[in-house]
Amino acid sequence: MDKWRIGIDIGGAFTDLYAIHLKTGESVWSKVESTPPNYEIGVLNGIEELENVNVYVRDAIQIIHGQTVVINTIITRTGSRVGFITTEGFDTIEIQRANRRDIFNFRYSKPKPFVSRSLTRWVKERIDVDGSIYIPLSESEVKEAVRSLLRSDVESIAIGFINSYINPIHETKARELAEEVFREEGKSKNYVTISSDLSREWREYERFNTAILNAYVQPAFVNYIEKLEEILKKKGFRGTFYITLSSGGVVTSEYAKKYPITTIEGGPIAGIMGGVRLASLLNIKNIIVIDGGSTTTKAGIAKDLIPKVHTEYWIEQDEWNAGYPLRVPTLDIHEIGLGGTSIIYLDELGNLRVGPQAAGARPGPACYGIGGNKPTLTDAYVVLGYLNPNYLLGGKLKIDSKKAVEVVSQLAKSLNLDYCKLAHAAIILANDYAANLIRQISIKRGYDPREFTLIAHGGSGPMFAPFIAKELKIPLILVPSIPSGVFNAWGMIGLNIRHEVIQTNILRVEENDRFVEIVNNVFSEIRKSIINMFKSENIDPESVETSGYLDMRYEGQAHTLKVESPSTEITLKDVREIKERFHQVHYNEYGFKLPDSNIEIVSFHLVGVHKVSPPGIERIAQKGTIKNAFLEEREIYVDGREIRTPVYKKELLPPQITLNGPLIIEGDTSTVIVPKDFKILHDVYGNILMKPEA
């Protein structure tokens, strides 16, 4: 044992495994089809593929897993029947925040709660705003509520009380009582979630909804993880099994079973964290990471390689729908409705459009020849010669370019256009659209894309990248040496073990001893609970590094900004520093500061990290010259005419070479397009660094 670290990433279409040898740095990967709803079978297949090349899980010290069970259980509405116990007099889950996101739609629907009113029970209790007990908890009502919910076939229970963020005593007591009833009723599993365990921030709807969704997914998640653990055990695995968190960290599977909702974006965030790691190895400072998938593209931004973690996160929210809030720490990540299989069509006015509808893996683009009959972006790229007209994925996927030409021509006819021109137009429109969205995301955060490097991975990311970079004037594109399709699995290896708590506790910033004492007390309380989390994972508290953040605002403001605290044990001197930092952050975010205004702390945020040594990347061993990598010259349509363009095989490219576009680089998992005014460097690690010609 103790030889390998293995990352396992489950996506909608594929399950990827990536193994890195601890000592030699050797890496091996496998890619198999995902097997919903029994995802563990796909993992097993992937493990067996690794065994074929003599990588065994019994030799692994760590397995790090990013999964989609949580998000899929929610999207497909296949979670458990949940009961909800809350403070008498509050219909929080029905009222929500009452916003009408689709403002001109007079038949707007609010998001349907995951718990009906008939499975909600009111109990007498009330914590006052200062944390004191205003009405004591009626223990008999809690027990009766649990009993009646179990009689109504509820499998999982969430508990949320008003003001529990400031004092969770009633919630913890209610959980004890609920678990007692579960035992009395002979239940084998105690599925009870309390809101204050997941979030200590104010705003009851967001916190309660987080608890309810945790309760909703918990049985399915536990069931899946237990099956997977069984498989790993049979294969002789004796190391530690980690699950990736939305925050960019990992926790042990035991811990994740209690709070599965914290892992909801655990897959996609691995790509951003992978981008951060790769960029730091290459001394790149600011990055935009795009993960171009088959139906959508995920985009993340990390200025100074520090991706922002926040707790304002919604699922199923879009331009027209309010969605469901989750108050769990999540990396800043965006989804753009554009992927390799986005459909090209004409709208009501005859305007050419691309996406957000996509053909996906089934029926797929027309050129896959498995039933797709609508033109997609992939078809357009095939038509123009950018993608190989015979196969993709190094030969694993057959391509029928005639079908692509056929469907694109049909659409072109209705516009009286040459089909190449139509394909070209679709690609321009799609990439322009993606560039506009990335520009909007940057502007919201006050970033200038010209100061960033674009890291492109995923099946379609490297295909989109040069077009987006050109439009946004991004000076450098990095296509990682790690094969595009397994970049997330690579990114998981080396994630730190991470726990964090955000505690709302409003406090005016004052330069006196009392303020210093309160701050240190709150941080110390939070630190205790974080240390307990690590202890429950058998991690030595001595190895945990903590850093403190303060969510602050000017008195009277509604929103807060996160500021790093100089220390988690501050002195009087630090108070001025904290104020200065807040003014500066406010200026950076909003373009002004109010030096005379009082400042308040709204929440204390403490992050504990047990650091794992991240694997590096290996230099590539490929010898020989560029000639070895040359595949063919292909006619490619550029700006209204066909240009003969060289095509190279990615895996055979030697290191340290520079090439000028136009050229195409075909890899086993994706294709890189280098337009005519770009040049590339294939570096010693096998990364492709692409720059527009000055």
Partner: protein, 581 residues
């Protein structure tokens, strides 16, 4: 040629993106939460004549209004001889010409490239105080506009990029919060300069000719779509009337009406039969009434349409000068929204049964906004709580109404959580629940429930101001669906209701009093006796109706022990009830 088509399409998409970028530019630069949290502003791009190219929006009010802002500036350039050069930014808030109320300040920038006028950009946003008799520049007590703040006709704020310090000084000397007003005005201006930069980029890349062509295309393209969508609407004349409860100095309630005429290429809203303007701040000026028709038109045709001027082409608004819907100076207008959204509601009511795939029965309509001011004993600070409240929406032809949703006058507006209220104000939230007791409009599909929210006052004293409507005239039902229930606020002292109503001017409260906010339930759709018994059972299980209501209103007999519908007895009861009517 085709290359050009592609470029035009790309430019059109980019113009739509630019207004979104302008939106976030403003949010980031603004100083007041009404801009950066409540999104009470709209940026837009318009052509050189003030026709809408694209608009970004957080609340519904401003669509349809933006062209008025640009046109009144262009008019004064023409008539009054104002100069117009690259780098100019004009400011205007005259509500009779640029809509809404004095708080909504409009800025307009002509966008030049190489000295050629390419387009205009405009933005209108809520500035928290522009002077007048009430802090915040609005209140229920004004009888003429001069009590509501500073009136600004189209004026240079920037001339060739240089700040016009004189006008800025006048504005800042007429507000209670000059530093905020200054910051917010600059934030609005920053969005216009951003638009100039992006238009420059487009012109450099594609050339002026193509950009102008794309603009014409974008402005015009809505015409075709509007015509197509208009073809799907029922044709004919439709009428509706409503009543607004009278204000203190009025003799009687106001009867308001609309006549909607839809033809193959027109959507006409005729407000001819309406009261003269009143000496209360609820008058709406013509641009606001036009906007209300535009809102209704978009809602009944395509709420997700990428809006440009051509799309509004079929709209015609008839509103006689000097009436409630086309007020003239010096009518006060600071609470214009209550009337403006009655105009939307009238059109909605006239058309609901004819366009059931887009419209519901009547909703609670009023913003149900209360203002509570008090001194917080915890820190000795004077605090003002002012918030919109959610209420019940009407049933649809195929579904129940939504419960507790903000009114049609609000949009992406978030209501306050109890935990935030208690921490920020000296009140205890004793309940925040569906207003089940006062019910909804029952029907084959029933309305949604309103809100019941009780605040106990914890400060020594407090003052309540409110100005809400639908306090005696409930939301309307459709097709034998019952009317909904009314909005009101009750004040409870020592367990007794000591006041109950909708309009309170400086009502004095003392410690321990309870302010109970109760918004109405939406109207029903269809006869309640036709409601599926299973839905009635579900409502009973969800504790939304009693067994009595199930029996007497819906004719459904429920066995409460086994939670089942007695199907046979229900059939008989319904037959009997139906024969009675």
């Amino acid at each position: 040629m085709s290359e050009e088509l592609i470029s035009i399409q790309v430019i059109k998409n980019t113009l739509t993106s630019i207004v979104k970028e302008m939106f976030w530019t403003t949010v980031r630069a603004a100083k007041s939460s009404i801009i950066y949290e409540t999104y009470d502003f709209s940026p837009a791009l318009l052509d050189e004549d003030g026709n809408l190219i694209a608009i970004g929006t957080g609340v519904p009010n401003f669509i349809g209004i933006m062209p008025f802002i640009v046109r009144c500036v262009l008019e004064d350039v023409e008539r009054e001889g104002l100069s117009m050069d690259p780098g100019d930014i004009f400011i205007v808030n005259d509500p009779y010409r640029s809509g809404t109320h004095l708080n909504d300040v409009g800025l307009v920038m002509p966008l030049f490239y190489d000295k050629i006028l390419i387009a205009t950009s405009a933005i209108k946003g809520h500035i928290n105080d522009v002077g007048g008799m009430n802090p915040g520049s609005w209140g229920p007590n004004a009888v003429e506009i001069f009590q509501e703040g500073l009136i600004i006709p189209p004026t240079h704020l920037y001339r060739k990029g240089e700040l016009n310090k004189e006008i800025l000084r006048i504005i800042l000397h007429n507000t209670r919060i000059p530093e905020y007003v200054h910051g917010d005005i600059e934030a609005l201006a920053s969005a216009l300069r951003y638009a100039q930069r992006r238009i420059n980029e487009l012109c450099e890349k594609y050339g002026v000719r193509i950009v102008k062509k794309a603009i014409v295309d974008k402005v015009e393209e809505g015409k075709l779509l509007a015509k197509k969508n208009l073809a799907k609407l029922p044709k004919g004349e439709f009428f509706a009337e409503e009543r607004i409860e009278k204000y203190e100095n009025m003799e009687e309630d106001l009867r308001i009406t609309v006549r909607v005429k839809i033809t193959d290429d027109e959507f006409i809203a005729d407000f001819s039969e309406n009261p003269l303007q009143v000496k209360a701040p609820i008058n709406t000026t013509y641009p606001g009434t036009y906007a209300s028709v535009a809102i209704a038109f978009v809602a009944v045709t395509d709420p997700h349409v990428s809006l440009s001027q051509g799309y509004l082409d079929p709209i015609e608004v008839i509103a006689p000068v000097g009436t409630l819907f086309n007020a003239t100076p010096p009518a006060p207008v600071s609470c214009y929204w209550e009337t403006m959204f009655y105009a939307v509601d009238l059109i909605w009511k006239a058309l609901a049964i004819h366009i059931p795939d887009k419209l519901t029965a009547g909703h609670f309509l009023s913003v149900v906004s209360e203002t509570l001011s008090m001194i917080d004993p915890r820190d000795g600070k004077y605090k003002i709580l002012c918030e919109p409240n959610p209420g019940g929406w009407g049933a649809g032809v195929d579904r129940d109404g939504e419960s507790c949703l903000v009114s049609s006058a609000d949009g992406e507006t978030y209501t306050h959580p109890a935990e935030v209220l208690e921490r920020e104000y000296p009140i205890r939230v004793e309940c925040m629940k569906l207003n089940v007791e006062e019910g909804v409009g029952h029907g084959r599909f029933r309305g949604g429930f309103g809100l019941r929210k009780d605040y106990r006052i914890l400060s020594d004293e407090a003052v309540l101001v409110c100005s809400i409507n639908r306090i005696t005239y409930p939301p309307w039902g459709v097709e034998d669906g019952m009317d909904g229930t009314c909005n009101h606020i009750a004040i409870i002292r020592d367990d007794n209701i000591i006041w109950d109503g909708g309009r309170a001017f400086n009502f004095k409260l003392t410690k321990g009093d309870v302010v109970s906010i109760r918004s109405g339930g939406g109207g029903g759709w269809g006869n309640p006796l036709e409601r599926e018994p299973e839905r009635v059972l579900e409502d009973y299980k969800n504790k939304l109706i009693t067994l009595d209501v199930a029996k007497n209103v819906y004719g459904v007999l429920i066995d409460p022990k086994h939670l089942k519908v007695d199907i046979e007895a229900t059939r008989k009861l319904r037959e009997a009830l139906l024969s009675k009517t």
